[in-house]
Symmetry: none
Subunit: 142 residues, 4 copies
């Protein structure tokens, strides 16, 4: 089972709506399938140049190690060299701060991941979680 484009678009719309409701800074949202490949991306006006790469790195890193990027941050706080090494091993796409969440069905099946960046990491994550919940799926932030 794989995440379809319409679901990804709906997640992005819901993340952006959450960002607007919370008056967050311009967000960039990337949705990846379970293989770490881009399905849909939107970068809001005013977001800085490399926000796609950061959103992608949050989501890809989450998939790489099978945990939300908040847990990657916790690991980086303890063993920065490990997280750095994994990032290098996978080509650089691992950004270990909150905002990258796994997307699962209610049964726990992994469908993909969402990465959000633009505001504080905590707010990025809150928007990501809200976006996933809005389509009836489960976000794993840790």
């Amino acid at each position: 089972m794989s995440i379809d484009l319409e679901t990804c678009r709906a997640i992005i719309a819901a993340v952006r709506a959450e960002g607007e409701a919370r008056r967050l800074k311009p967000l960039t949202v990337a949705v990846l399938d379970a293989g770490g490949h881009v399905v849909a991306v939107e970068r809001e006006d005013g977001a800085s140049m490399s926000r796609f790469e950061i959103a992608f790195g949050k989501a890809y890193g989450a998939l790489a190690l099978g945990m939300g990027s908040r847990s990657l941050m916790a690991r980086a706080e303890q063993q920065a060299y490990f997280v750095s090494a994994v990032g290098a091993a996978i080509g650089g796409a691992l950004v270990p701060v909150p905002g990258g969440v796994l997307v699962r069905t209610a049964d726990g099946e992994l469908l993909g991941a969402v990465g959000v960046t633009g505001d504080s990491s905590d707010n990025d994550e809150a928007a990501a979680v809200a976006g996933v919940a809005a389509v009836g799926l489960v976000a794993q932030a840790e």
Copy 2:
């Protein structure tokens, strides 16, 4: 002047509508700003794994050399080693077949580029051109 997200979303919608009208295979569409940075992407269901990278490479390569990717193909037909070398020099993101078009205003100002992949290169390009025209901008395919 920079291309905004709503314009990019409208381009993608129009490219996809063109693909549906022509009964093309699943398309992937990437829209980049004039600096080669992702603004919006959609990969349709059934598109193969790395279609984002291909769509990106068509659009990025067009921006890199300032010509639509059809002209990159023409150059590659004559001097494959040159196009390959430029691709390496810019980090790999150059796919020299039709489907990458520059996006300009009616006055000729460069706003960004669109890359489309999924069907034949000619059809990819036709969908890209239709998508840009649909928002009142000018596509440069060569």
Copy 3:
């Protein structure tokens, strides 16, 4: 709107004049457009081998995250692993110490970035700011 070469040359001349007035060590100055692409560079005699890459990395990193490189240093002081990971995600061009400033119009529009290296980071930044001010534009150092 894009930064033109003559403006970039004028910025470089003013940065170098500031360096001379302050008796700084040999400076290297890189000016990038808003998409992070090189417009003009000068490396003064006596500057060490890789000063271009450092100047570029200060300016590129500033554009990547939308803040002057002094703010990147502040973030690195708190979360070195984050700044390191973003650097890896964008291909390495992120040097998080002062000396990379965004260039804006008086209205706040982003035109590009300037990176300066060669003396202390604080002095590099002071020269960068002076260079941007000299052409009537606004430097964002944080």
Copy 4:
């Protein structure tokens, strides 16, 4: 002995003057020292996004193999796989078409290289050669 910044600036000015006299398209000029490190760059208004990387690759490739980039093209015409492999071995910065010339003293000492791109490769090379001659140095185009 090493090429100094003022000489590099004078070469760039002369290349650009030649381009203007010949009514060439916007040029990008990169001057490297004998170690392949950037000393000065200028990208003219209207030049496409990645022209610095191409100019650099012409000059760097020339230094890499100790011959002007016209000879790299000749080799690529015969053994594209060799030139491609060398490009990969040195990190990608090898663009094997005319426009990259070695800079030597009248005595034959190597000072650096100039890379020019923007018009046809032949015109790029002509402008590079004219620029080096204008400062009383010798350009090696083959």
